[in-house]
Point group: D3
Chain length 299, copies 6
Amino acid sequence: MDNNMQKYLDKAEVLIEALPYIQRFNRKVIVVKYGGSAMVDETLKERVIQDVTLLKLVGFKPIIVHGGGKEISRWVGKVGMEPRFVNGLRVTDEATMELAEMVLGKVNKELVQFVEGLGVRAIGISGKDGGLLRVTKKLSDGQDIGFVGDVKEVNADILWDLLEKDFLPIVCPVGLDDKNNTYNINADDAACAIARAMHAEKLAFLTDIEGVYKDPRDPETLISELKVSEARQLMEEGYIGGGMLPKLNNCIDAIENGVSRVHILDGRIPHCLLLEIFTNRGIGTAILDDEGSRFYDDK
Amino acid sequence: MDNNMQKYLDKAEVLIEALPYIQRFNRKVIVVKYGGSAMVDETLKERVIQDVTLLKLVGFKPIIVHGGGKEISRWVGKVGMEPRFVNGLRVTDEATMELAEMVLGKVNKELVQFVEGLGVRAIGISGKDGGLLRVTKKLSDGQDIGFVGDVKEVNADILWDLLEKDFLPIVCPVGLDDKNNTYNINADDAACAIARAMHAEKLAFLTDIEGVYKDPRDPETLISELKVSEARQLMEEGYIGGGMLPKLNNCIDAIENGVSRVHILDGRIPHCLLLEIFTNRGIGTAILDDEGSRFYDDK
Amino acid sequence: MDNNMQKYLDKAEVLIEALPYIQRFNRKVIVVKYGGSAMVDETLKERVIQDVTLLKLVGFKPIIVHGGGKEISRWVGKVGMEPRFVNGLRVTDEATMELAEMVLGKVNKELVQFVEGLGVRAIGISGKDGGLLRVTKKLSDGQDIGFVGDVKEVNADILWDLLEKDFLPIVCPVGLDDKNNTYNINADDAACAIARAMHAEKLAFLTDIEGVYKDPRDPETLISELKVSEARQLMEEGYIGGGMLPKLNNCIDAIENGVSRVHILDGRIPHCLLLEIFTNRGIGTAILDDEGSRFYDDK
Amino acid sequence: MDNNMQKYLDKAEVLIEALPYIQRFNRKVIVVKYGGSAMVDETLKERVIQDVTLLKLVGFKPIIVHGGGKEISRWVGKVGMEPRFVNGLRVTDEATMELAEMVLGKVNKELVQFVEGLGVRAIGISGKDGGLLRVTKKLSDGQDIGFVGDVKEVNADILWDLLEKDFLPIVCPVGLDDKNNTYNINADDAACAIARAMHAEKLAFLTDIEGVYKDPRDPETLISELKVSEARQLMEEGYIGGGMLPKLNNCIDAIENGVSRVHILDGRIPHCLLLEIFTNRGIGTAILDDEGSRFYDDK
Amino acid sequence: MDNNMQKYLDKAEVLIEALPYIQRFNRKVIVVKYGGSAMVDETLKERVIQDVTLLKLVGFKPIIVHGGGKEISRWVGKVGMEPRFVNGLRVTDEATMELAEMVLGKVNKELVQFVEGLGVRAIGISGKDGGLLRVTKKLSDGQDIGFVGDVKEVNADILWDLLEKDFLPIVCPVGLDDKNNTYNINADDAACAIARAMHAEKLAFLTDIEGVYKDPRDPETLISELKVSEARQLMEEGYIGGGMLPKLNNCIDAIENGVSRVHILDGRIPHCLLLEIFTNRGIGTAILDDEGSRFYDDK
Amino acid sequence: MDNNMQKYLDKAEVLIEALPYIQRFNRKVIVVKYGGSAMVDETLKERVIQDVTLLKLVGFKPIIVHGGGKEISRWVGKVGMEPRFVNGLRVTDEATMELAEMVLGKVNKELVQFVEGLGVRAIGISGKDGGLLRVTKKLSDGQDIGFVGDVKEVNADILWDLLEKDFLPIVCPVGLDDKNNTYNINADDAACAIARAMHAEKLAFLTDIEGVYKDPRDPETLISELKVSEARQLMEEGYIGGGMLPKLNNCIDAIENGVSRVHILDGRIPHCLLLEIFTNRGIGTAILDDEGSRFYDDK
């Protein structure tokens, strides 16, 4: 057998290895929070979209929730807006919200375009479409920081309808309050709320870190699997800080509301989604309920 | 019977008068090209959205196709872009296209928000979603004027799927070419292409004129009903000029490809859509095929 | 703007005002007990049928339950039947029942004809069709008054099936007992039983009075909104008498079994149904549960 | 084996013999024109209803079309109506039509009641329901004989919808003309029109004769199988007269428009329908197309 | 009326008598354990298949579960296998299992062929198809007797899917354990497990005895109806022995798990299934729950 | 990045490479004729089943048609049957047919077991089930060689129904003639007939040769792509002989009746199916119509 042939056979073996994973998640909803470097670097971007598209094609039901990345800041600069602050907190005033929505819309359609380019039917919506996301004003330490919202209600029917029609939904985190005002929503919060409402099998956060560390200064302390009770303890003991704190709270919230497993993935690793889902190489940190491991006992 | 009561009875009579019209267009597709003053004036805007929402609620299948109105120019100014020209023609370069798409996206979601505010399920998409609109580059007298496209293909399945799920689709006229580049499409062209592909019952253009005139300087020459052959003759004889020429070509194209009737309405008249559809008051100019009148003989 | 135009604009406004009402009752079942003057006067008759037909066309699911009005008496005279009495009570013997069923059948098909004439798909059935209404013999103060029945069971599947096939069902109140004997049913009772079984949104009685009065001799005491507990109290305190007593009992029964609101309407007012449903003009008396008003807070 | 047992075994054999017939007509539409003695004699009536109910239960799709039999005449007498004549022809004036419709309605519901009593879901409709039968005025030798109609159009959707919902439709032959006037239709004509519109497998006329005779005075000349061309020839040669002539024309019309076989059965023989369908005992006369016998070659 | 005619009329009456039974079991699942003499005698075989086919055609949902009868022994001899014994018990070793599966497969397709020959859509499956039957090793008094299994799990979806597609499923009792080894299952056990999982209306065992006797030596003590509590008592009191003991345990198990009635029929009587189901001639012994008779009170 | 990680990333790339192939064949029917060495060698067997299972899981609709391989000969020997010959041709007499069917049934269920073991819903049927394959006797040079059949009719509904219920159908090539006799069918013929009837996208023959050679003695003359006209010419010019002749005729027959592409694959290469479908490594010979290559222009 020639060398070339061996190469092909190896490829076939890789496909065959994916078989049990394809089976396990068949027709399951997987919410992917897409953000960070994976949204800036063109190569990583391509990888992520390929991954999600593949998930769709082999029978999963992925939903992408994305942020605006650095594009919003870039456009705020371009237009020459002056940021406003209240008690040291940046405020999303009406003009900023208008621009943010435009930028998020642009990013949204770029992702649609990417997915369509791979031959998969995508639809880009915001939380306004079909009344998907209803919000209330979020206060930051009691301060009004403008049009920033907490998700109060997810109209999951919209997404089920689009999935039934075989669309890959791509959602940008903008919503309306009861008075029909437009609000920005933190993309992590939106992804978590959607995963809860859809009883997703998985919620995966693409981040710019390797995962949760016991000691962020020591790469050896990366935690591969974290049960909800352990996560709570880590937070109480003060190990978790910065941006990880709200993210971990979202993870716990998701797990306690019917999502089977949440993943904090390192979006800087190409194909991190596929690696996590189709191989036994754990990427980043998996958060699961206290009896969680029983589900995927063979992994 | 008191005066007040009489007022209510009159109202009931109006509703009853609408009965045959509701019946006639039940489950029929009506494409509304939304633009001009009706998109700028807040009161007119509200009226249009109310009209379309009512059409949806009483069982029609309206689809809105909108332009960006004056918002695009406003933002071009705001960002400080320099327009580029080729042989005297304005060119939609990449940067302009990017901004135009953002503005159109913003307008699109505003319309969604408005419709949702009236309790109807709307979804805002562009021609990228689900590959709805495929374009080829449009040349203007042989000149390349940048990312301006002619609709080559409408993937009507997308709209049928959304209608089946009871959405009111709101479409902004942006599409992709075969190499996945983003193009702007004239909203009239997009509306016409969609109406053709959906075999719409009606295609209505909201404009800033009263209709088609034989002599534009003489308001008495407004034409109420125009058969395709008459329209052709008018054009040949040089009566039609300016922006009306391509619009009338679109009308003829639609009629000849299965749309039952096209209306050029004066969007400056509040509720012009309802007036045209629900009363025997003809608004603007109706274009129909040469045997057209037989369809609505009672009107 | 000419006067004529203003007239049309006013009409458009009326349609727009109906929008929230159309939305609220979309796909809801509304049972209309049709009887009294509105069934005798040809003009009123036309109005009622127009109203119900409009309700159907804009997306509601109306069901008509009708009596035989004065037609039965007329035919009893025509055929020369001698009424039989037991202890002063009129008895529905077999011959009367046979004639009553014939007359009710005739009225039933007349209504079908009317609705079909307005272009809506109607089907006229009696409680025998599909076993819709099963009855037991009704005793009046312990006296056997012949073939008069109480509804024991409603086979609602029949009506759901017909509604699913987009029929407007028109029901005449005749049913069978366990031994397959034919019985007459009071149309109010039949309408109430059907509304209960269908969990109707509304049950509307078209009557020949303006509504419920505290003091029937004083028109100023007309009650516009009556909660179940208040209705009970009025009855206990002896304010309610005559034919209103069983009707009010039916109303309470309906509300307590899942019907959202019951209306006692004055069928002598043209379009009373539309006025009640599409305007904020309260017609007659609305009966609702003790927390009822919260539902339609804007009305 | 005891005698009793043998009796049961014989019964089982009868059921088994029905097997190929059940198979052949599974899900096929069979229109039964019900009239004559079989409608007057209580025992025969029961037999017919049992037969049709059995056909329904074993998977066929029977539809009954019935006349009013002698009931109409009885009621005309009872009410004391004076028949009107024009040139010697009896005229169905408005009063007669009203009474006829009432009587037909009564008969219709009696049949419903009978079928329901056997546990099968029946629905009794007239040609008015759902616009089932549209008519034009029938002239008799150029004379206007009142409200007697020819079927112009059958709205078969109504019947398909009711069959889909598992009803056994029972139709009385009353219809509307274009001006919404009520007309009586000859039940044979109505049955034939419905069978044509439904592309029925069979159309069976229950009559008071044994079938078609070559010589009506000679019982030996009963024709068991009659091809369309033979039927035409018999008529041309003057063998067929009286009421048989229009009936035979109906038969030919049905066969030539897609009905596979038409049967003229002797309704005075109990279970004539079952005998015709489930045994190889030919009852009456079967009319078939000129290549007809190939279909049921084993019969 | 001639004699011949009388014969036909008698036949029609038999069909009519079947009407209430057809109605009662319409769309109900009936599991038939097919074995014993009825599987060996060609005439009986034909009768059984006719019966089940008729049940299918008139709207029931029969499922056949069959054993291999004497064919397995015949083939063991033919191939010249030596039976193995452990402590006096015959052992189903791998080679025997292989042969048994082949013979069962052959019998299975013969039955398919038979049913198809009568024009009914059959499909022959084993417990392997769609993972229908999962087993655990059965021990006989603690002894390992090879590949003989107890049903641990029935994947009823498979059968519902096949029934929905209008197949008559014919099942041979072979299943897989957790390690994917092939096991033989006692056909009675398989039939009982399937009837339980499908909540069958009836489970009928075709046997070579007349039914359950109080005293097997005295034919007069045949029990026609046996309640579960009575069956238990008979077993406790030692009346039941031999092969009847496990069969009766299966019956009780079925009744206690949702099967309405179990029948032990004498398969040597031709058409015993039809006789039991379509006549009031009780064949063999019916086992029912302690309140059982209320269901079929008219039988 | 560690070595291990690189290995995983390579795997992800392989999955991504499969993306366009998964897309291209999504929901397409692929008929696999399974036979030869790939059926004997346990490792190859596993590979084939893995491949087909993967095709199923990623959205294709594979159907396996298999032969009995060497098992039939083995059992003929085991049972001690004497082969019969007519004019030098081996005859499939009744006894041989019986045994062949048993062996094919065994092989069929083994395949089912294998596929089920990988978690995919399989169903093993023969051409008898649902009347899938109807045959006529095949004569070999005019000689009667017993129960060997040519496929006369494929009842494709059966397979569509099973595919709709998400089964992977595994078919053994046994069918019935008009008199309900059992016949053996050449597995190539059966696969070809099924592919035709299903308008399969692909028909793949797993063989023991590398493909079609111009000169079988010279491995360099392996033909990678063969148009129908070229195949015809090769046959006419005498290049093709032995078992390849009927196979090539089958290929041409399939292509000319709506199958897009037929593959003669070397079943001795592990994962030859995946290699052919998911990579640009051509395996064996592809037969296509004369304009064929336009379909998969990127391959």
